[in-house]
Each structure stands twice: as C-alpha cells, then as structure tokens.
C-alpha cells in the first residue's frame, strides 16, 4: 500500500515572507520553536555590545554572566515545568524568600552552620509550599494564576509579620551560607586580581539536567506535556492529575527554595522585599525561550537561552550607553516581540490548514 497522506504532509509552497520567517524561526515545531531566532538575537546583541566595548568579549564577562544568571535560571526551570502543563506559577519568588528565611532561621535556632542542612530545609520548604499550590489547584479546580497569586500574597504577608522589622543581615547569617555566595570552583587572573567560576554553577547544572530528565525521560514529564496540549484528552487517557500537579508544583517549589538560598547567600541579606516584583524577568525568560502560556511546549534549552538574553540585557545596558532603568522596557519589549513572532508562526501554520482561530 502506498504511504498515507504523503502528498499533504509537505507544507504548501508559501510566499517568500513566510519562507523567510520559517528560516528565521526554525521549523522545529512545538518543541524547538524559535530557538534559532533566539540564539540569533543573543548573537546580534553580543556583537552590538562588543562594538561599544571590545573588552566585553572575555572570559570574565562569561563568568560574570553565569554568576548573575545562575539562581534566576534555577527558578525559571521550575516555572518552565509548570508552564508546560498549561499552568502558571507566580508565587516562586515569595516562596524562594520564605524557604531561604526558614533555612537561615532554623540554622541560627539550632546553631547548625551547615550548607547541606540549609539546602535540605530550603528545598524541603519550597517543595512543601509548591505541593500546597498543586493540591489546592487540584482539589478546587482553581485557575493556577489565582491560586499562586494568592499564595504569593499569603507568603509575603507571613514574611512581613515575622521578619519585616528585622531582616537577617550578613553578620547574623551562618558562615557556610556566606561562603556559598562567594566560593568559586577555580580562578583565573584578571588585571590586578582574580575572577572565578562561582559554585552556583553546580546547582545550575544539576537543575538543568534534572529538569531535562523530568520533562523528556519520565512518564510524568510526558504527561505534563500532554496535559498542557489537550487536558481533556489527557484525562481520558488516564493521566493522574493529582499526581502530575503534586510533582510539578513541588518541583517548581523545590527549585524556588534552592534559588532562594542561592540569592540570600549571594546578597547576604534575608529581607522580605528583596526579590519582589522581579517575577517579570523570570516569566519573560521562560516565554522568550519558547514556552507557550497555554501549555504543551517549552524546553530547557529555551529557558537557558531566554535567561541568557534577559541576564545580558540586565547586565549590559549600561555598556551600550543606556541607564539600568531601561531593563524592564527592553525585557517587556523582547517578551512581546518574541511572543508575537511565535503567534505569527502558529497563525501561518493554521492558515495552511484554513483554520482562522487566531487570525
């Protein structure tokens, strides 16, 4: 028998505009969509910065980029997993600070000065808060945005009550945590001093690998994509919604806890207002990296690239002669730009099948 549907599987000959766009954005479909466009944008931006300040193309810049982006990437990977399922989590930064606070406070309370202890506590508290998110969403079939927004409010309220007047400052933080923020794996000479590769790269790599494994190599990860792609069908196929919700929200929470500990070690301050309002950067990085707000798409590579772009913008606008105040403008702009391109691609794809849903 001849192969089925052979003739209709190739996209129709399209105009030069759509062909160019397809080239620009890659034909990777749902999974790798927009990755090459993003890599191209990063490259163009790096060249722009390098033209203004040739010093930028150096190992030092790269090490600095990793240092400032590591913690944010860790939390973004958790947000990715939730977004793949078709949900959204906006409680992650509040969760991060709460977890870090509990870890620091317990360390002081028991007089334990151990990074391992702090890590276990922070990740555990983060995962617990995430599990509560997942459970509430499952039990009451609530919209994920509302649930996690409420959770953000609750956590911030609790933090203000317990911690508002007295942030934990550097001198009162365990030494192991302060060291965690400054330790390096190796150092290279730079000018008069040295610059090193932060130990943050270890949690970063672990988080990236485990997220990739979760999403691509486990049944629950594939169920997460299925749920984001077509929730009704996923439930009909017997996907256990409670299990998936608990796993993905706890996972996102655990990464938030880890990120919180990294942040407070870095800035040496546990203060409820430290991270507040920066959710935009993380969500932008994930969406710029190709995750769909409606679920079913998104990848670890995308998040790594998206966060690279966001961190680059955050770190280098000054270099190209703009004040740091432009950060939000550019990140908001990049978010809208990339989201529009991916919407336009979906529209072209639908038009070929005469589907005018999102015209």
């Amino acid at each position: 028998m001849e192969p089925m549907h052979e003739e209709s599987l190739e996209p129709n000959a399209a105009g030069w505009r759509s062909r160019l766009l397809a080239q620009l954005t890659g034909r990777g479909g749902g999974r790798g969509g927009g990755i090459s466009l993003l890599a191209g944008l990063i490259l163009i931006y790096v060249v722009m910065v390098a033209l203004r300040s040739p010093d930028f193309l150096s190992l030092a810049s790269l090490l600095d980029l990793i240092r400032s982006g590591a913690a944010w990437t860790v939390v973004a990977l958790g947000v990715l997993v939730v977004m793949v399922s078709g949900g959204i989590d906006v409680s992650f930064l509040a969760n991060a600070i709460l977890s870090a606070y509990v870890a620091t406070a317990l360390s002081r309370w028991f007089g334990i000065d151990s990074l391992t202890f702090a890590l276990v506590v922070a990740i555990g508290v983060g995962a617990l808060v995430g599990a509560v998110n997942g459970l509430i969403i499952y039990l009451f079939s609530l919209p994920t945005l509302i649930t996690t927004l409420a959770m953000q409010g609750v956590i911030q309220g609790v933090l203000m009550v317990f911690l508002g007047a007295q942030p934990i400052t550097a001198s009162r933080m365990p030494i192991s945590l302060r060291n965690f923020g400054t330790d390096v794996l190796f150092e290279v000479p730079l000018g008069p001093g040295y610059i090193g590769l932060t130990v943050f790269v270890i949690p970063l790599v672990i988080a990236a690998i485990s997220t990739w494994l979760l999403l691509n190599r486990t049944a629950i990860g594939r169920a997460t994509y299925a749920l984001g792609s077509n929730p009704t069908a996923a439930l009909r196929c017997g996907v256990n919604l409670l299990k998936v919700n608990l796993v993905i929200y706890s996972y996102a929470g655990a990464l938030a806890g880890l990120m919180g500990l990294m942040m407070v070690s870095d800035i040496r301050l546990v203060d409820p207002v430290t991270l507040v309002g920066n959710e935009l950067f993380v969500l932008a990085a994930v969406v710029i990296g190709g995750a769909k707000l409606t679920g079913g798409a998104g990848s670890v590579t995308g998040v790594l690239l998206g966060m690279t772009l966001v961190t680059l913008l955050n770190n280098t606008l000054v270099t190209i002669g703009l004040s740091a105040s432009w950060n939000r403008f550019f990140i908001g702009f990049a978010l809208v730009f990339i989201a529009s391109i991916s919407h336009y691609r979906a529209k072209l794809r639908n038009l070929r099948q005469l589907n005018f849903d999102n015209i």
Binding site: M1, H5, G15, G30, A219, S229, N230, G296, L354
Partner: protein
C-alpha cells in the same frame, strides 16, 4: 463469530428525558456494527455506558458471558474497549510516535521513557493498520485524516478487542474515508469488533456487517446492509421520509448578476475561477476536500485574499480586506465548523442570534439593552423554527440541527444578499437537514443568491440550480438541468479519485 459484548435492557434517564429505554444490542468479535441515530437518539449515552463514563439505571452489560450492572472507565479499558471520540483526543504538540505510544509511556509500572521502544511500538501499530505516518512529525501539523490514523493506532497499542468510533467520518475528507475503511477491514481480520456510532452512515455501507438504529432512546431494529438504502435508513432514524427529489427554485436567468467572479486566482490553492450568481439562484460547489472549494469561499468572504482576478457586486468591482467589509456589502459565510467558528456555545440563543447586528440594537444614546436583542432573536427563532422553550437557553442545550439553525439565523439577521454555506448540514439529523434545505430555497425565493459547498451530492442535486465541480483548484465541470443528477456528479468525482 463469538459474541463479545451484549447489552440487555439498558435504560438511562436524565432530568426531563429518557435517554435510553430498554436497549438490547450485541456485537461479535470481528464484527463491524454501525449504530445509527439522529441527534438526541441516545447513541452518545449508549456509548458512555460502554466506555464506563455513565452508569445505566437498569439493564445489564455482558462482556464474554460476564454480567456487569455498570462499567467503570478502568473496567472498560481493562476489558479491551477503546473509544475514539469525535475530537480524537490526540495531542497536537506531541510527536506522532508519542501520541500512538502514549498508553505505553504512561503504563502504571513505568517511570522512565524509552524513546526507542516508543518508536518501535508506534511503527508496529501503524504497520498493523497498513498505514504510514512520519513518526517524528508534530501531530498538530498533520491533516485530520493522519490524526485519526494516529488515534486508531493508539487504540491498537492496548489489547483492543472492541473499538468504538464516534462520528468517524463527519470531519473526514472523502479520500480519507476510503483509507479509514481499509483500516477497519484490517481490524476486522484481526478479530477486533468495531462499533461505529454515527448519523452519517452512507460511507459506511461498504464495510458494515450490520446496522442498528436508535430513535428516541429505543432500538428500532437490526438490519443487514443489503436490506437498507440511504433513504430507508434516514426514514428509520427520523421517522420522516426523505424526499430526494429535485426541487430547485425558479429564477430569472436574464437578471443582472448579483455577484460576478472573473479569473479569481490564489497561488497554490485555486486558479481562474469565473462565474456569475444571479438573484434567486442557488449554486453548488462539489468536489473533494482540499480541491479548493472552501478556499474560494473564504476569498469571497474577505479572508484568504486572492492574488489575481476581480469580484463585482451588482456590476461594481469590490475588494474585501476583511470579513467585516464583506458582511457590510451583504455577503455572509456560514462556515462548516459551527463549534469553533459560528457559535458562542455557552451564551443564550438570543445573544448568539443578535450578535451579528449590534448596530441595530442601539438606542438613541448609542447604548445596548436587552430588549432589542430579545425581539430580534424571537423573530428569527420563529422564522427558522428553532426548537427551544425560550431564547434564554444556552446554545449548547440545542441539538446539532437546531444549533445550525441558530448560526444561520445569526447571519440572516444581517439581511445578506449573498449567503455562502459551507457544508451546512454536516453533523445534523435528517429532519433538520430538510428544514435547512427549505430555508435555503426560501432565501432564493426572496431574491438572494446562495452558494452551497457540500460533500453531500444529494443535497446539491435537490436544492441547486447549477453545480460546479471543483477539481485541483479549477472549475472542471458545470452541471445543471437534466445533467444535474447524483449519478453524473458521483461518476465525475470517481474519475477524479
């Protein structure tokens, strides 16, 4: 053949309706049974009882001699019953291979995914079906026929003994129907029982061993295909005789054309389309799905702009940049997929009907209150005979046929001069179908122009003055008067296939 499933005296009552009333039904291994019934006849409820999604109030479900009062979804899956719903329940964002092997990936004892095994399972299931699909393609990028194939292949990866397919041919282009029938024959040879649940059954005559007809929750009887014709089946389903007679409306052939189309072309879709539509005329577009019929209609409606050619309304050249301009000029398009493109399912019938004419609902301060909406809706509900207790009911509470009438009414409220109807009677019962044909003729009598795209040749023959055969994006034939018969049209279509 060994009996696989027997339903005995199955009854189910919902508030206000007796959905199933003592239905007996049996299906043997390797048998292809078509369960026919109009909308609201109880076939969905029956299917849900088999799937385990609903519990019958009384009666027995007997699987290979074992009697159950009800099945739970898990029981049904364990017994080897696989249901393919009309929406196919596939995952657009996932690859073909993953869609097919989804159950294997999600099997209870497995935590890790072995992608090599996934591909192997998918390839094997496709081989059993005699089908081939690109395993790594994103399923959402493939046409509907390919998605259906993937859904059937997925069912095969389980130990499928009974495959239930809900409305399998309704959304399928005709050439894919042949492929579907091919696959069903293979399933049959493997001893798998296939239960088609549908109201569009003429395509299934070729493969069915037996028809069972449901009407108003009761089984009317079992029939061999040989003792049935499409007309008789329609009569059994609805209790109304289908009059398949030609009844075109007379119109003035010398009148000035309402719409003239000259050399309309769009790269890769259709080319050099020319025709004139006169007041009171009904023109039909026959042809295969993908031949360009829908594409042409969309271009007339201001979507899918043509590359070349001209459109003239009353002799004046027009160019539509958007559907809004087309509607303002008096052209409306009733699209085939009323669920996603024509109906606000959860909103009240009145809101649906009046949604096309907000301008007319404004009072002198430019504000819209409910009164005008209700008046407009009530008038139209009466004129197109929507069966509903009130215009306040949500549109989704109506049967498919009445939903389609609401969509029609919505567009008729704009007082269009030209109506383009894309498969206006797909998925609705025979009774409603005839009523929609009556509405079309009534519109023509009022001097409006109508263009009907349809896969139902009968529908075209009985209501059109002229039918164009669209083939590979061009008008390949014109049929009218004594030439316009189902035999002639289907003869030409077969040559194309």
């Amino acid at each position: 053949m060994a009996e696989l499933l027997r339903l005995e005296g199955l009854s189910k009552r919902y508030i206000g309706t007796q959905a199933l009333d003592g239905v007996d039904l049996a299906i043997a291994a390797g048998e292809v049974l078509c369960l026919a019934g109009a909308n609201g006849s109880g076939k969905s409820t029956l299917m849900k009882c088999i799937a385990g999604a609903e519990a019958p109030d009384s009666g027995k479900i007997i699987w290979e001699g074992r009697a159950f009062n009800r099945l739970k979804p898990a029981d049904s899956m364990r017994l080897g019953i696989e249901i393919i719903y009309q929406d196919l329940s596939v995952f657009s964002d996932l690859s073909v291979a993953e869609n097919i092997a989804f159950h294997v990936i999600q099997a209870r004892h497995r935590a890790w995914v072995d992608w090599g095994a996934v591909r192997k399972v998918a390839a094997e299931a496709l081989r059993e079906l005699g089908a081939s699909l690109p395993l790594d393609a994103r399923l959402g990028d493939l046409p509907i026929g390919a998605r259906q194939t993937a859904a059937i292949a997925r069912a095969l990866t389980q130990d499928c003994r009974l495959l239930v397919m809900d409305e399998p041919t309704t959304a399928l282009p005709s050439r894919d129907v042949a492929r579907l029938l091919d696959m069903v024959r293979r399933l049959k040879m493997k001893g798998i029982a296939v239960l088609f649940v549908s109201h569009k059954l003429d395509e299934l005559f070729a493969v069915a061993d037996r028809f069972a007809v449901l009407r108003d929750g009761r089984k009317i009887g079992d029939y061999a295909p040989a003792e049935l014709t499409i007309e008789r089946l329609g009569l059994l389903m609805t209790g109304i005789a289908v009059k398949g007679e030609k009844a075109p409306v007379e119109f003035d052939v010398t009148a000035k054309p309402l719409l003239s189309v000259e050399g309309l072309s769009r790269g890769g879709q259709y080319h050099d389309i020319s025709f004139a539509l006169r007041p009171g005329e009904i023109i039909g577009f026959a042809g295969l799905t993908g031949a360009g019929r829908t594409e042409i209609a969309l271009s007339l409606f201001g979507l899918n702009p043509p590359d070349a050619g001209r459109l003239a309304l009353d002799g004046r050249e027009v160019r539509f940049g958007s559907p809004l301009e087309a509607v303002k000029a008096g052209i409306v398009l009733v699209s085939e997929d009323r669920h996603s493109q024509g109906l606000f399912a959860r909103r009240a019938i009145r809101t649906n009907i009046a949604s096309s004419v907000y301008e007319r609902q404004k009072d002198r301060f430019g504000l819209v209150f409910g009164g005008a909406e209700r008046r407009i809706a009530e008038r139209w509900v009466e004129r197109v005979r929507v069966k509903t207790p009130s215009v306040d009911e949500p549109a989704q509470s109506l049967s498919g046929g009445n939903q389609q009438k609401v969509v029609l009414a919505k567009w008729l409220a704009t007082d269009p001069r030209i109506l383009i109807l894309d498969n206006p009677t797909v998925g609705i019962d025979v009774g409603s179908k005839m009523e929609i044909h009556d509405i079309m003729r009534e519109l023509a009598r009022q001097g409006r122009g109508v263009i009907v795209i349809s896969d139902d040749l009968d529908e075209l023959v009985i209501s059109c003055n002229r039918v164009f055969l669209i083939e590979a994006g061009a008008i390949a034939g014109e049929f009218s008067g004594p030439d316009l018969t189902v035999e002639r049209l289907s003869g030409r279509l077969r040559q194309v296939v």
